[in-house]
């Protein structure tokens, strides 16, 4: 079978430490354009750069649940954002043979003044669902989120738990072939978490591929059969999941140990 996601030599470079604040003002841009007409507006020359991702390649098969682990700043979120098309890679190529669902944040586009019902439609279309699809799954979404009684209440009056349940529920019922999840699986109380876990497994059983970023090794172990370990933007991907998790757990900031494994 051929992979549904194929990632080839992805790198992402960020510019850090601009001399004067975060972004150049118009005046600076104009001055620098006049002073040195050949440097571009981006001001590449004077910046320090870091590689948030460096030469990442992997493939994912339909039905795989893949964990992405690594320390803060290792590039997990950047990888997810590149996969989600939120930001472009500096080099490399990715092919995805299916629809893509992104759940990097709970309730993207929710408006506090709108009711639960209204927000299901807004959030659903933002995630990429068609209105027909939302209508078809509407009852399922509401039942899963357990907010039936508050469907006509503006979400600003929701408790944070209700808010999270509704938002997760919308996203979980969007049936993309590839789903990107960022840490959000740990929402709600224990019983809702169990429901989320079961949902993730259902999705995978249907042949959909899931990428899951998490610091929680217990949920990684419970859901994934494979993990990608990121270390300073480099990828360490091995057959033996426990070994990779072990690398991560034992990693004490010693770049050398993991560097060797990555190469």
């Amino acid at each position: 079978m051929k992979p549904i996601v194929s990632v080839r030599n992805i790198s992402k470079q960020y510019h850090v430490g601009r001399p004067q604040g975060d972004r150049p003002s118009l005046r600076q841009a104009v001055t620098s354009a006049v002073m040195s007409p050949f440097s571009r507006l981006n001001g590449r020359s004077s910046d320090d750069t870091i590689w948030a991702l460096k030469d990442i390649s992997f493939e994912a098969m339909p039905g795989e649940v893949i964990g992405i682990i690594g320390r803060n700043g290792a590039g997990k979120s950047t990888l997810l954002r590149v996969l989600a098309r939120i930001t472009k890679p500096t080099s490399g190529e990715i092919d995805i043979y299916g629809r893509l669902g992104t759940l990097l944040e709970i309730g993207t586009g929710f408006h506090p003044e709108l009711t639960g019902r209204e927000n299901i439609f807004v959030n659903g279309t933002i995630l990429g669902m068609k209105v027909k699809e939302i209508k078809r799954k509407f009852d399922e979404i509401v039942a899963f989120s357990e907010i039936e009684r508050f469907l006509e209440t503006p979400v600003k009056h929701y408790s944070s738990g209700m808010y999270l349940r509704l938002a997760f529920s919308v996203a979980a019922h969007f049936d993309p072939e590839v789903l990107l999840l960022d840490e959000i699986i740990a929402v709600g109380d224990i019983s809702f978490q169990k429901k989320c876990f079961a949902k993730v497994k259902d999705i995978s059983r249907e042949g959909r591929t899931i990428f899951l970023v998490s610091h929680n090794l217990a949920s990684i172990r419970a859901l994934c059969k494979r993990v990608l370990l990121l270390q300073s933007g480099r990828l360490c991907d091995e057959e033996d999941m426990e070994r990779v998790i072990g690398l991560y757990v034992n990693y004490k900031g010693d770049e050398e140990t993991v560097g060797k494994n990555a190469d």
């Binding site: 472009k88 299916g98 990097l104 993207t108 003044e113 224990i190 249907e206 949920s219």
Partner: protein, 300 residues
Amino acid sequence: MTDETVTPTPNRMEAANISPLRVNIDLPDEPLIKIRARRKFDLINLREFWEHRELLFFLVWRDLKARYKQTILGILWVILQPLLMTLVFTIFLGKLVRVQTGTTPYSLFLYAGLLPWTFFSNAVSSGSYSILASSQMITKVYLPRLIIPAAAVSVRFSDFLVASVVLILLMLYYGVQPGWQILLLPVLAVQITVLALALSALLSALNVKFRDTGTAMPVILQVWMFASPIVYPRSLVPARWEWAYQINPLTGIIEGFRSAFLGLPVNRQGLAISAVITLLLLVVSLLVFRRLEDDFADIV
């Protein structure tokens, strides 16, 4: 460590039960999504924009709905804005300065010009902040970003439709009968909307990179308003400034609206020039927007 305790018991056997072998999903031959490094030159993907029209609708719907839930006067504001401006200019320019507008009552002349202007200026000013205002969304999910300024302009367009009703009431009050020129209205509405969209796309993208854009906007719009024949007829303009009115794409549109509503002669040449400039501006704006949009999520 608290994370660990709330997690349902990790069960490796359960995980192992997920068998990819049961999967039989038909993958397309060609990838649906191709992610490539940015190129120097790229065109806006209009087909993708069209595929997301439902999203555009819901973004507009969300803003309108939220707005009317939060304001007491709700829809009245939409009518009050051009109406109050008409009142102010009628008093100061009409009564004090006594601007002459031929047979047309000055307040009607004003409203017919202020109506499209209000739409245009509101659309451009909220459009130019639209990307910044949606930073939350842009950094969390992919959508064709052009949808965002397009939604801002569409919200203002719906206001424009509502405010147009008042003009019809004013026309009835003054007993003005429109002529065949009224048929031009849809064309004019499209033209001014395209112009507003072009500027919104351009300015919203620039505003992400250079915040000065947004700060300069109110001043520029104010100057633009007085540099267009909105509160006075073009006949008052000295001949040596004629050229400035000819290249101003709003001149043709505003005069067009006035002709359409009040049955005045149509300045075809002005409309044609305005259409050409509008289209040129649209092409440039879309190219700039495309060039800058890859950076939105990183710098917004």
